[in-house]
Symmetry: none
Subunit: 245 residues, 2 copies
């Protein structure tokens, strides 16, 4: 069975919501929470009371200063968002995501944005897929803790089915995507080369171009081996002596 | 399609929780709430703010002085409880209950007990089946609103795609993979550059390396736009003036 997913709260605002999310996680068997630059620092005295006893989740919570750092060891990154137009990544329900997480080897991270604004485009760019809870189109008002609970609840359905109870295809034959930090290393290498080649022009469009490239290179879900191959390709193209001489 | 179920809050204590339950209901398309002798009377000024805009549910809420009166018009009555020993009725998950509710003609009512104590034995006696959310046995701490939300969420999955269906992920927004010839054009361009960079060495391994690269570049399923972007990247790296000049 695959590892339980990591819940990543990106720039959460209220300690109370962090506590409620922890409670929802533990209710459904999830214990690993990561926090990216929580607004009011960490630990937060409001989190404990709201967790109603889920202290173990709060005690183990780790703080990171960027989303990239928080998901560096995770080959599968999901971003939760409300319904959006013009999304260029696969959008799945919590149910579909839960099934995929159970089927795939390697750790998954699920990103949840700040209470008021949700995830920013740059956060979403780090993810391969988007999780959207199908909700009343005329009244979509899911708060942070509720979103965490629904995702955890769906994930919990897939545990305890017994060893080999479900006849699944042998997904483990597929190489798993490389951890995020390996992907970032490749993107960084390409970026430096493109900078030198004057690709980012005009400067005003650079952030958009960078995001486009990141999305494009995140999409394949390349394995560690594939990422190494691509880095060999880039080294060859940059004229540096690669491992192939 | 059967009617949406009625949510019955039995002797609820805090107006805030009634409001949160209303919000959770409306998120997933349920609007009919019934209240059995709410502790602090009705209307309750704390309910509105907690409902975050789900006022229609609160405005329509009806008050009854017994559980029997509240479910008098409903042929299917479910009681939600935490896991209990010695239960002499069928126990189903929210998922199973939702399926049964969609399949059965006639209205269903779902009973939720007071925050602190849950439903009493006499309340449960009115129900034909019991709904229990499968939860962490060592940390079961679902509050009233969360229980309502999970039940409403499961019900909403069965609404289907017709009128009144909830907003589903916009799968059609995803761009289609580029036609094979566009992919081949990109691979050809890269191949020529790698040839020049002396990447294919030793010659005996060239076919394998070419196949590896093709596999790797086929995997993403890049769209036409993405393939064009990659060709722009390659042109920039090869020092040729691309469209970005």
């Amino acid at each position: 069975m695959s590892l339980p997913p990591v819940i990543v709260l990106v720039r959460p605002q209220l300690g109370e919501n962090i506590g409620k999310a922890a409670r929802g996680m533990l209710n459904f068997g999830l214990v690993e929470m990561r926090l990216v630059t929580p607004r009011d620092g960490w630990p937060n005295p409001s989190a404990g009371p709201a967790a109603s006893g889920a202290d173990i989740v709060l005690e183990r919570a780790q703080v990171f200063d960027s989303v990239a750092a928080a998901v560096a060891d995770c080959p599968h990154v999901y971003a939760t968002t409300v319904r959006k137009r013009g999304v260029t990544k696969p959008v799945v329900t919590p149910e579909q995501a839960a099934r995929a997480i159970h089927a795939a080897p390697g750790r998954a991270a699920i990103l949840f944005g700040p209470e008021r604004s949700g995830l920013e485009t740059d956060d979403v760019a780090l993810a391969r897929e988007i999780i959207t809870v199908p909700i009343n189109a005329e009244f979509g008002s899911l708060n942070l803790a509720q979103a965490v609970i629904l995702v955890a609840y769906e994930w919990s359905k897939g545990i305890g089915t017994g060893e080999g109870a479900l006849a699944s295809p042998p997904e483990t034959d597929l190489p798993q995507p490389a951890p995020q930090e390996e992907l970032d290393g490749m993107i960084g290498q390409l970026d430096a080369m493109l900078e030198e080649a004057n690709f980012f022009y005009p400067p005003a469009r650079t952030p958009v171009t960078r995001r486009t490239l990141r999305t494009l290179l995140t999409k394949p879900g390349w394995s560690s081996q594939e990422v190494r191959t691509m880095r060999g390709v880039l080294s060859a193209l940059s004229g540096k002596k690669g491992p192939r001489g």
